[in-house]
């Protein structure tokens, strides 16, 4: 199971490498030049440094939150409220055919 809370500490922040940034860029489909990668590496390291500092605070007595606001999700009744607006939506699509949005061939 993949956890979304990577264990962050000073060593981790210090060790953020060029290849870490390259990997994240690839996962996010971002094309970056070596100069941009170096800039991002230094900025991200700064952010991780800040996180590491916050990690050092004792939060033992505080219940973890998954959202910055201490509120509960509002729910919607299960009733259809949307009508067909395909024509309007597809007017701005680069390419459509037979009601389908067309994208470059994806081969599994």
């Amino acid at each position: 199971m993949i956890t979304y809370r990577p264990y962050l500490n000073k060593e981790f922040a210090m060790s953020l490498s060029t290849s870490d940034v390259e990997k994240v860029a690839r996962l996010a489909r971002l094309a970056m030049t070596p100069t941009e990668i170096e800039v991002a590496r230094s900025q991200l390291s700064g952010i991780f440094g800040l996180i590491a500092e916050m990690q050092a605070v004792d939060t033992g007595g505080v219940t973890p939150m998954s959202h910055s606001q201490d509120l509960a999700q509002r729910l919607r009744a299960d009733v259809v409220s949307e009508s067909n607006q395909r024509e309007a939506f597809q007017a701005i699509a680069p390419q459509v055919e037979g009601g389908l949005y067309l994208v470059p061939q994806v081969i599994e």
Partner: protein, 483 residues
């Protein structure tokens, strides 16, 4: 040396809501492409998800039906990956805090081979979480292009994850079937496997008894129980052969090809499993109060397993009969309606439903809900067997007539003259005339030729045009022949 098989299932059930999980677009199946893809389904800039109460209610129902923990507080997370049928670039799912936690499902396993008896097994459920479905890719929609239909994008799914508790294809299929029955029973999913409403991923590994778990391979997207069994059988053999030939099983995602009966690994995409989950800032935590859970509990029908136990303990049916009669809610309702007509003859009701009714349904390619004979009509026939108005063979004739022509049992019995003769005077008269016409045989019988008894039964039955009450006829014959 023998091998142990270890199987766990992940089942995606499409929830039977009217609208999508995070927007008010319709989820009706079969609409023209993209006519149900609203701004949220398309991930247009500026849209926000709003959670569907109906989807949460269905998750609670499932949790209650499996005795699972229902989280008072659960969280939606983003699962990030790129694919054209996922316009946001992430799927909204649940990770660390799913809506449904640990529970279990007890199943009746019918071994696929040999004379082994059916047995019960309890499969542990790890969790069930809410998430949104992706759209559909239509490959080759135009030259060198893939078409994308986002009608399905945002359809609510409940992904039900089991522990690796199953150790044969038969157990995996029994579990999947029990789950399929249950989700339809409690009305959270239509269970239509052709339309993709119930899709199974099967994790399979093998090991030597006592050894740690082997490396698993995941068979994706099985949408038939038959394919599931074939895929597991093939995969198990492949893993055993691979290891016995000195190879190693690599963790992989594989597909089953129903045409060849083989499994093959999907091209493994680099970074395929690096989903970078994090809590979705667009959605607040989902809170479920004990009051809400109790409200939902009040809407639950008697569950299959409870019904089975009642059929066995109170009606005296076998575990097998009870399991068959609770294979769907339609079946159980049918049985209980028939039983209302003859409350003391549960076994007869079970035999007729699983015998005559099922046979005719199979022959005509119908399911229970399409039966031309209603439960009330069948109850009318069985009532006349129970009060000795008709014999079992007479009842079958009534049934056949009713199946094709309709009508009520008493009218058919009357019209066809199927009423049994139970008047002892009339039966005695028939027996007397048969004995008088076969005096020689009577003498033979009395001198010890017992076998002739059958001849007298046949002759007397014929003389009554098949209408004599068989038990009574036997009795009278025995007495009179004894002299």
């Amino acid at each position: 040396m023998t091998w142990e098989i270890v199987i766990g299932l992940e089942v995606h059930t499409q929830l039977s809501t009217n609208t999508k999980i995070f927007s008010g677009a319709s989820t009706a199946f079969g609409a023209e492409p993209n006519t149900q893809a609203d701004a949220v389904s398309l991930a247009l800039p500026g849209v926000l998800p709003v959670l569907n109460k109906g989807a949460v209610e269905r998750a609670i129902k499932f949790g209650l039906a499996t005795g699972s923990h229902i989280a008072a507080h659960s969280v939606f997370a983003r699962k990030n990956y790129f694919y054209p049928d996922l316009p946001k670039g992430y799927q909204i799912s649940q990770m660390d805090l799913p809506v449904v936690g640990r529970g279990s499902l007890t199943i009746l396993v019918e071994p696929l081979s040999g004379n082994a008896k059916p047995y019960e097994k309890t499969v542990r459920i790890t969790r069930a979480h809410l998430e949104e479905d992706a759209g559909k890719s239509v490959h080759g929609a135009a030259q060198g292009m893939t078409g994308v239909d986002l009608n399905r994008a945002g359809t609510p799914l409940l992904e039900i994850v089991s522990e690796p508790d199953m150790c044969s294809a038969a157990e995996a299929v029994a579990y999947a079937k029990a789950l399929h029955t249950l989700v339809r029973w409690i009305g959270i999913c239509d269970g239509n496997m052709q339309e993709g409403s119930f899709r199974c991923d099967v994790n399979v590994s093998v090991r030597k008894p006592g050894a740690p778990l082997g490396t698993r391979r995941e068979i994706k997207n099985l949408n038939s129980f038959k394919f599931m069994q074939q895929a597991i059988d093939y995969e198990v053999q492949w893993q055993i052969d691979t290891i016995e030939n000195g190879g190693k099983v690599q963790q992989a995602t594989i597909l089953f090809n129903p045409d060849t009966g083989e499994t093959r690994a999907m091209r493994s995409k680099e970074d395929a499993h690096d989903y970078r989950y994090f809590p979705d800032p667009d959605l607040l935590p989902l809170e479920i109060s004990p009051e809400w859970i109790e409200q939902v509990r009040a809407t639950l029908p008697e569950l299959p397993h409870t019904k089975q136990a009642r059929y066995v303990n109170e009606l005296g049916l076998s575990a097998y009969d009870a399991s068959m009669l609770t294979s769907s809610r339609e079946m159980a309702d049918f049985f209980e309606t028939v039983l209302a007509a003859v409350p003391n003859d549960a076994k007869m009701c079970a035999n007729w439903i699983m015998g005559e009714v099922n046979a005719q349904l199979n022959r005509d390619g119908l399911d229970m809900s399409q039966s031309p004979i209603t439960a009330q009509q069948l109850g009318g026939i069985l009532k006349r067997i129970a009060d000795n108005t008709i014999s079992n063979s007479g009842a079958k004739e009534v049934f056949r007539t009713m199946w094709t022509e309709g009508g009520d049992a008493d009218a058919i019995i009357e019209a066809k003259g199927l009423k049994q003769v139970s008047d002892s005077g009339a039966i005695e008269a028939i027996v007397d005339s048969v004995m008088a016409a076969n005096a020689e045989k009577v003498a033979e019988y009395r001198s010890g030729k017992d076998k002739l008894f059958g001849f007298f039964v046949g002759a007397a039955m014929k003389a009554s045009q098949g209408k004599a009450n068989p038990a009574q006829l036997n009795e009278v014959l025995k007495q009179k022949l004894a002299g």
